[in-house]
Amino acid sequence: MAEQIDRELTMSRAMVEAIATEMRENDEVFYMGEDVADYGGIFDSTEGLREEFGYDRVMDVPISETAYLGAAVGAAQEGMRPIAELMFVDFFGVAMDQIYNQMAKNTYMSGANVSVPMVLTAAVGGTYNDAAQHSQTLYGTFAHVPGMKVVVPSTAYEAKGLMHNAIRDDDPVAYMFHKRLMGIGWLPAPDGPKTPVPEEEYTIPFGSADVKREGDDATIVTLGLHVHRALDAAESLADDGIDAEVVDLRSLVPLDTDTIVASIEKTGNLVVVDEDYRSYGVTGEIVASVADEALGALESVERVALPDVPIPYARPLENEVIPDAGDIENAVKRTQ
C-alpha cells in the first residue's frame, strides 16, 4: 500500500515546486515572462523563484511575445530547456506565428533532426469578469495545431507531476493553468485543487486521463476548472440517484481516448464539458473520437461549453455563458 501523503499545496505552489526542482538539477532550465521576477507571476506561477535563482534565470522580458517566445524556441533548439510564459493565454495572438509555425512544426519539418524542448506556460480561464480579451481558455486553439503537447492540470497533484514531465520532455509542451485553480489570495479557488502533494519528484504521463469519480450512469469528460464543477454536479446528481463518472483529461494532446471509451462502454452516456468555445473545439473532438471508436456504445451525447460568443464582461452575462455545476447537472439529466 502506498504511503499516505498529508502535505497539501495550492496548485501554484505545486507548479513552482516542480519548476524549482528542475532548475536546481539542470542549469539549462530557465524561465522567461512578463512580471515573473519581482512580482512572482501575476498568477503566482513563479512565486519565490527569482529570490532563489536570480534575474538571469527568472527573466523579466520586454512586452514582446513574438521575440521572447520565438527566443524560447531558438534556445530550446540549442538544447536548453526554456520555460516561457504568456501572462494571459489571450495574448497568444501577437506571437501566433512563433507558436504555430515554429514551436509546433520545427521538429516535424526537420524530420525530427531538431527538437524544441520548451514549455509554454499560460494562464487561462474566466469566472472573474475580466471580459473578452482576458478570460479565454483557448484549449482547442492550442490542441488543434499538430506538434505541441497540451496539458491542463486540475489539481496541485497534477500540476507538479505534469510540470516535471513537461520540462523533461524533448518536445514543446503547452502547460495551461487555470487562474481560478491556482490558490491566489485575490482569486479564491474552489475546494478541490488544493491537494496532498508528495515531496519527492514524480512525473505524470501525458495522455493518461484520470477518473476522478466513478459512476455507472453517465460519463462526464472535462478538464481544468470544470473538473471541479463536474464533481459538484455529480454529488448533486447522486442525491437524485444518478451516478456520474467524471473523467479529467489532464492532457488534450495526446488524448487518452481509451479511458473515455472504457467509461462510455460502461455508462453509454457522454457529457463533454469545456470552458472553451463550443464550435470546432474540445467538445466536438471528444464526441467525434468516441464515435470513431465506440459508436455502438453511445446512447446519448451532450455538449456543455461556451456558446459561440466572446466572453462578456458584466456578471450576469458571464455567468450565462460559462458553464456551472447546474448546467452540467441538467445535461447529465437529459441523458437519462
Binding site: 475580466d130 456558446p307 459561440d308 455567468n319
Partner: protein, 346 residues
C-alpha cells in the same frame, strides 16, 4: 499660445479624470475587502486607473475634434474623458449595466464611443494598427481628420507598435502616437526591459519626428501636441510623442506594489500635474474662486455619472447571446439566384 479658456477646459478634464479614478477606486474596493477578491463587489474584473496620467489625456485631446479617432490602451479613462466620451454611459459600462456603452459586454478595457471616435482595448499596443487605419481612411477620403494612438512605455517593444510606426511613416499618414511613460510595466521598471532611455528615440529609425515631454505638465503637453496634431492635419505625416506621467495607484486595483520602492511611490504622489495647472491658471488671471468652481463642477459631474450608472439595470442574461452580427448569419441575402450555369450556346 494656450488661451485661458483652453486652460480651463484642460483643468476640467483633468479634475474630472482624477476625481473619477478616486471615486471608482472606492466603488471598486467595496465588497472586495478586507481580503481582496477580484470577482466580488459592484465593479468586477480588473480595473486599471490612470491617476497621474491626466496631462497626457487633456493636453493632446484639447486639439482634437469628434471626428478625430483616438485609440487608448487598458488604462483609458482619462483619455476617454478628455475626448468627450459620454461619461454616464461609460460609467454604466464599467459597472456592467445594460445601458453602458457596450451594453455590459465590454467592460472598462473595452469602451467604444463612435460618437466621438473613441475606442480602447486590453492587449498591449493593439490600438496602434487601428489608429493607422483611421489615418489611412482620412488620407484616402481626403479629409483633414487625424488619429491618435495612446500606449504605455511598456508597449514600445511590441511588434504592433513598431510595425505601425513604419506603416504610418511610409504612407505619410495623419497619425500621432502618444507614449505615456509612467516608468513601470506592471512590476517591470523601464530599464530592465528596454534599452533606450526615451521611447521617443524610436522615431528616428522610422524617419518621423520624435518628441519627449519630460515633465508632467499639461501646458507643455498641449504645446507639443499642437505641433504634432497640426503636422498630421496639414498632411505632413506622423509624429511620435512621449509624455512623462506618473502612476499614483497600482497597475491594477489590488496590485500590492511590493516590487516598487516607497520613494518612487512618494515621488509619484508628489508630482501633480493638476496642481501645476492651477498655477498656470492663476498666472493666466483665473482666480482661486473660479478654479474651485471648476473643480466643483468636475466632481459633481462624476458623482452624477456614478449615481446614474448604479441606478441602471443589469443586463438580462439572455442578452449574452445577442450582438454577434450586424447582418444575419447568411449575409446580405438569404436567397441564392437561380442561374442556369450549364446553359449556353456552345
Amino acid at each position: 499660445m494656450v488661451t485661458p479658456s483652453e486652460l480651463k477646459q484642460m483643468y476640467l478634464d483633468m479634475a474630472t479624470a482624477r476625481h473619477y479614478e478616486e471615486r471608482l477606486q472606492e466603488e471598486y474596493l467595496e465588497g472586495k475587502q478586507p481580503a481582496f477578491d477580484i470577482s466580488a463587489g459592484p465593479i468586477p474584473g480588473e480595473l486599471h486607473l490612470a491617476a497621474g496620467h491626466e496631462a497626457a489625456g487633456a493636453g493632446v485631446c484639447q486639439h482634437l475634434r469628434d471626428d478625430d479617432t483616438v485609440t487608448a490602451p487598458h488604462r483609458p479613462h482619462h483619455v476617454a474623458i478628455a475626448k468627450g466620451v459620454d461619461l454616464k454611459r461609460m460609467t454604466a459600462e464599467i459597472f456592467g449595466r445594460e445601458t453602458g456603452l457596450g451594453k455590459g459586454k465590454g467592460g472598462h478595457m473595452h469602451l467604444f464611443d463612435p460618437e466621438v471616435s473613441f475606442a480602447c482595448s486590453g492587449i498591449i499596443a493593439e490600438g496602434c494598427p487601428p489608429a493607422v487605419g483611421a489615418g489611412l481612411a482620412a488620407k484616402k477620403r481626403n479629409t483633414d481628420s487625424v488619429a491618435v494612438a495612446y500606449l504605455g512605455e511598456g508597449a514600445i517593444d511590441q511588434g504592433a507598435f513598431l510595425e505601425s510606426l513604419n506603416f504610418a511613416a511610409v504612407q505619410d499618414l495623419p497619425v500621432v502616437f502618444v507614449i505615456e511613460d509612467n516608468d513601470w510595466a506592471i512590476s517591470m521598471p523601464k530599464d530592465r526591459v528596454t534599452d533606450v532611455e526615451n521611447g521617443s528615440d524610436r522615431a528616428g529609425g522610422f524617419d518621423m519626428p520624435g518628441r519627449r515631454v519630460d515633465v508632467d505638465d499639461a501646458v507643455a503637453v498641449y504645446d507639443a501636441a499642437r505641433e504634432a496634431v497640426g503636422r498630421a492635419r496639414d498632411r505632413n505625416g506622423p509624429t511620435l510623442l512621449e509624455i512623462q506621467v506618473h502612476r499614483r495607484m497600482g497597475h491594477f486595483m489590488g496590485d500590492p506594489e511590493t516590487y516598487r520602492p516607497e520613494e518612487d511611490q512618494d515621488a509619484a504622489a508628489g508630482r501633480d500635474s493638476i496642481e501645476r495647472l492651477v498655477e498656470d491658471l492663476r498666472a493666466a488671471g483665473v482666480d482661486d474662486a473660479e478654479v474651485d468652481d471648476l473643480r466643483a463642477q468636475a466632481e459633481a459631474r462624476v458623482e452624477e455619472a456614478i449615481q446614474w450608472a448604479k441606478d441602471q439595470p443589469e443586463p438580462d442574461p439572455a442578452a449574452a447571446h445577442d450582438d454577434m452580427w450586424i447582418n444575419p448569419g447568411s449575409g446580405v441575402t438569404d436567397t441564392e439566384p437561380d442561374f442556369d450555369l450549364a446553359g449556353g450556346d456552345d
